[in-house]
């Protein structure tokens, strides 16, 4: 095959901006023209499309564990994902089960987040007498929302024995750390 040489390849960041509809119209036309004639850049765009599609698939099939937002949760529901929401106050505990007809669960941890600059989560998992913990650093959140939304991996949940998961929200400040609340999820297999 003899693909024409690509002169002045488009930077990947520009391809992403193009794909997300962020470029001004005046910049789109020349970029599209370039894509038509440049196999290298077109393949980069195809790779980006493949990654985007795979991420969508991973979310739909519950293979992703992520902190989300209320707007994203609404979008997930609009797209037909069946999600069980658990709204839980600081210090609260909730029994949760992922039923066979559900695609996932969302923990909505209510917290006073005004003024918080950085938030970490310490996750303590207890199952069958074993205890493990991990610290999730610098999680994304909207201080105005007054809650932190966690979308755990449904695929991982389906494999879990009865498990207690404690999520501790910690505000990290220059002067030190401040615990904002602990949230307990008592998971029972369906």
């Amino acid at each position: 095959m003899s693909a024409p040489a690509c002169t002045g390849p488009i930077e990947f960041a520009a391809l992403v901006a193009y794909w997300m509809g962020e470029l001004p119209p005046a910049e789109e036309a020349p970029l599209e023209e370039h894509l038509l004639g440049c196999a290298h850049c077109a393949q980069n765009l195809a790779a980006l499309a493949a990654i985007g599609s795979a991420i969508r698939g991973a979310v739909r099939t519950g293979r992703v564990d992520a902190m989300i937002s209320a707007p994203l949760l609404e979008r997930m529901k609009k797209e037909g994902l069946r999600l069980c929401e658990y709204r839980i106050p600081a210090g609260g505990s909730v029994n949760c089960t992922l039923r066979a007809d559900e695609d996932g669960v969302v923990g909505r941890m209510q917290a006073a987040l005004a003024g918080v600059k950085r938030l970490d989560v310490v996750q303590v998992i207890e199952a069958q007498g074993e205890k493990s913990s991990q610290r999730l650093e610098d999680i994304p959140f909207d201080p105005a929302a007054g809650e932190v939304l966690h979308f755990p991996s449904a695929a991982a949940m389906r494999k879990m024995p009865p498990t207690t998961i404690r999520m501790r929200l910690i505000a990290v400040e220059e002067s030190g750390e401040q615990a904002l609340g602990e949230y307990t999820f008592v998971h029972t297999p369906s």
Partner: protein
Amino acid sequence: VREPERLASFVLGTCRMVVLEIRRGTRRREALLAAYRPAEEAVDAPEAAALDAEKLAGCLEALAERERSVLVHTFFAEQSADEVASALALTAGNVRVIRHRALARLRGCMEGEGP
């Protein structure tokens, strides 16, 4: 919609968002056509094939919390940098930086041996 830009000028308020969605969809189809044309000619174009779902899940897991969250917002909800910024109380510039770094790490992981 053949001329979505022209149509957009007639539509106000919330309808604009609907048009934007159509416009994005149209452009993406065009872009995909452009993208896959050379890929079809290539003998072996691994990136055009569906990605390994398990490997992708592992590579996503290996990202920082912010990176994973920004990618999920970006690609599941098809949110622009401005929209992701608004959902997560970041600046749009910050979202672009996180998004770029996350995609670079994810591609590196997918093209390498995985997480």
